[in-house]
C-alpha cells in the first residue's frame, strides 16, 4: 500500500495537477451524508458554507433517500434535549445514537408550558399555553415564532411541496361549523376558512395531526357522537376533506390514534383491556 502510494505520486507529478471537486460532485457526496456531518462541513470554507446553506440544497438533501435519519427527540428539562437516532440505536452504535442538541432559545421563557403540536420534514411545531406557536428545526437550531390568539382543538404542520412552503394549521370544532385557520411560512399570514360540517372534539392526546400525502389528518368524533371520522386538510389545495373509515373501525375507534407506516395509514384503537395488549389495524 505504502509503496503503491509513492509510485502513484511519481506519476502524478508528470500528469497535470488534479482539478478540485466541482460543485456537482460536492453535492453528490453531501447528499449521501447525514445532517450532522453536513452541518459540520459548513465550516470547511465559504463556498461549502454557501452551498450547504442554500435552501434548494436543504430540500434535496431532505428528499434524498440515501441518508434519512429517524430521530426521537427527548426534551429533558430547560437546558437539556437529546436526539436519539433510532436507526443507529438499533445498530448499537451507542456513541452516535444520542446527540445533545441545542435547546430552543426561548425555552426558559416558555418553561413547562411548551409542548409539541406537530412535526413534518425535520421541523417541530411547538405550542405555548394554547397561544403562540414556534416552528423549530432541532438540527440547525432555526426557529420562527408565529403569533396566534384563537382557541382551537386540532393542530399540525404540513408541507406544500409545490410552493416549498410549510403550513401551520389549526382546526376549531364548533357545534354548527368547523373553522380552519392556516399560516403559510412564506406569506407569513393567517387565513381562515369555514365549513358548515361539524364534528365533536377527540381526546387531548389525539389533537396533533399526522402529515401524509400532502394533507394533515386527524380522527374526530362525528357530530352525533356515535362514531369516528378521519378528516384531512390538504395543505396545497387548502381544503378540508372527510375520509370515511372502514365500517368496523368507525364505531369503536373513538380512542383510536393514527400512526402512519411509511406511505400507508394505520389506526390503533387504544383499548387498554390489558396492559400492553392493543390491537393494531393497518389500513392501506
Amino acid at each position: 500500500m505504502k509503496s503503491g502510494c509513492r509510485k502513484r505520486k511519481k506519476t502524478k507529478t508528470e500528469a497535470p495537477p488534479p482539478e478540485p471537486f466541482n460543485e456537482d460532485l460536492m453535492i453528490e457526496i453531501l447528499l449521501k451524508l447525514p445532517i450532522k456531518s453536513v452541518l459540520r462541513f459548513k465550516c470547511l470554507s465559504k463556498s461549502w458554507f454557501s452551498l450547504i446553506s442554500d435552501p434548494q440544497f436543504a430540500r434535496i438533501h431532505f428528499d434524498a433517500a440515501a441518508a434519512p435519519t429517524y430521530k426521537l427527540l427527548n426534551l429533558v428539562n430547560e437546558s437539556e434535549a437529546y436526539a436519539v437516532d433510532i436507526e443507529s440505536a438499533l445498530c448499537d452504535v451507542s456513541a452516535h445514537a444520542v446527540s445533545n442538541i441545542p435547546v430552543i432559545a426561548r425555552f426558559d421563557r416558555y418553561g413547562d408550558s411548551l409542548s409539541v403540536a406537530g412535526s413534518c420534514r425535520g421541523f417541530l411545531l411547538l405550542q405555548c399555553l394554547f397561544t403562540d406557536f414556534v416552528v423549530w428545526n432541532p438540527s440547525t437550531g432555526i426557529q420562527k415564532q408565529i403569533y396566534y390568539s384563537n382557541w382551537y382543538h386540532l393542530s399540525g404542520i404540513g408541507y406544500d411541496s409545490l410552493d416549498d412552503d410549510f403550513v401551520v394549521v389549526t382546526v376549531t370544532l364548533r357545534a354548527n361549523k368547523t373553522v380552519v385557520r392556516y399560516f403559510c411560512l412564506r406569506t407569513k399570514c393567517w387565513s381562515r376558512v369555514e365549513y358548515s360540517v361539524s364534528y365533536a372534539e377527540p381526546k387531548l392526546e389525539l389533537r396533533n395531526g399526522e402529515f401524509l400525502n400532502g394533507a394533515l389528518h386527524w380522527i374526530v368524533k362525528s357530530a352525533d357522537n356515535l362514531g369516528c371520522v378521519l378528516i384531512g386538510f390538504d395543505v396545497r389545495e387548502k381544503r378540508l376533506l372527510e375520509i370515511p373509515l372502514p365500517n368496523h373501525l368507525a364505531l369503536f375507534s373513538k380512542r383510536s390514534k393514527i400512526y402512519y407506516l411509511k406511505r400507508e395509514f394505520s389506526i390503533t384503537p387504544q383499548q387498554q383491556l390489558k396492559m400492553n395488549k392493543k390491537t393494531l389495524f393497518v389500513w392501506m
Binding site: M1, G4, C5, R8, T11, K12, E14, A15, P16, P18, E19, P20, F21, N22, D24, L25, E28, I29, L30, K32, L33, P34, K36, S37, L39, R40, F41, K42, C43, L44, S45, K46, W48, F49, A66, A67, A95, H96, S99, N100, I101, P102, T140, G141
Partner: protein, 166 residues
C-alpha cells in the same frame, strides 16, 4: 470417428474465433500520459460521455477516443472495478487519491454506477471526520477568519461532538 471429431472441433473453434472477433468491437482510449488502451465496446457503454460521441460519429470502424483528464493508472483501476462488478472490497483497497480521482473521472465520463459507488465510499470515509481532515482530503483552503470559524462552530455545536480522531 476420432479423426472426424477432431476436424469438426477445429472447424467449430475457428468459427467461434471468427464470431468473437466480430462481436467484440474494441475502442482505443488514449490517456493523459499517452498510453493507448484497447477496451471492449461493452465497457464503453457505461461511459455515457464517450457513448454520446460514438453515436454522433456513427462509425463501424474502431474508434480512438482521447481522455486528456484520465491517467492510465486510473483508467486501469476503473477497468478493474468494472470487471469486478463494482465489488465494495475492491473500492476499500483504493487509496484516498485513487478514490477521489476515480470519482472525478466517473463524473466526467458520466458513469452512473461508478459515480454512485465512489461518492458513497467518500461519504462513508468523511462522515465522522473532523473539518481539518476533510479540508486536507479535498485540498480545501479555509477562507474563514479564525473569529468567523469559532462563531460557526458555536452555532452548530452538537455537530462537532463524537467526531473520530484524525
Amino acid at each position: 470417428m476420432g479423426e472426424r471429431g477432431e476436424e469438426w472441433e477445429a472447424v467449430m473453434l475457428r468459427k467461434a474465433e471468427e464470431e468473437e472477433s466480430k462481436a467484440v468491437k474494441k475502442v482505443k482510449l488514449v490517456t493523459s500520459d499517452g498510453v493507448t488502451m484497447e477496451v471492449e465496446i461493452s465497457t464503453v457503454k457505461e461511459m455515457e460521455t464517450i457513448q454520446a460521441f460514438m453515436n454522433a460519429t456513427d462509425t463501424d470502424n474502431s474508434i480512438i477516443f482521447p481522455l486528456p483528464k484520465v491517467s492510465s493508472h486510473i483508467l486501469s483501476r476503473i477497468m478493474e472495478l468494472m470487471s469486478g462488478e463494482y465489488d465494495q472490497e475492491l473500492v476499500k483497497r483504493l487509496s484516498h487519491e485513487e478514490l477521489k480521482e476515480i470519482c472525478m473521472v466517473a463524473n466526467y465520463l458520466n458513469m452512473k454506477t461508478l459515480l454512485h459507488l465512489t461518492a458513497s465510499a467518500i461519504a462513508n470515509l468523511i462522515q465522522n471526520k473532523s473539518v481539518e481532515f476533510v479540508r486536507h482530503f479535498f485540498n480545501i483552503i479555509n477562507d474563514f477568519t479564525p473569529e468567523e470559524e469559532v462563531q460557526l462552530r458555536k452555532t452548530h455545536e452538537w455537530a462537532f461532538e463524537g467526531v473520530d480522531e484524525d
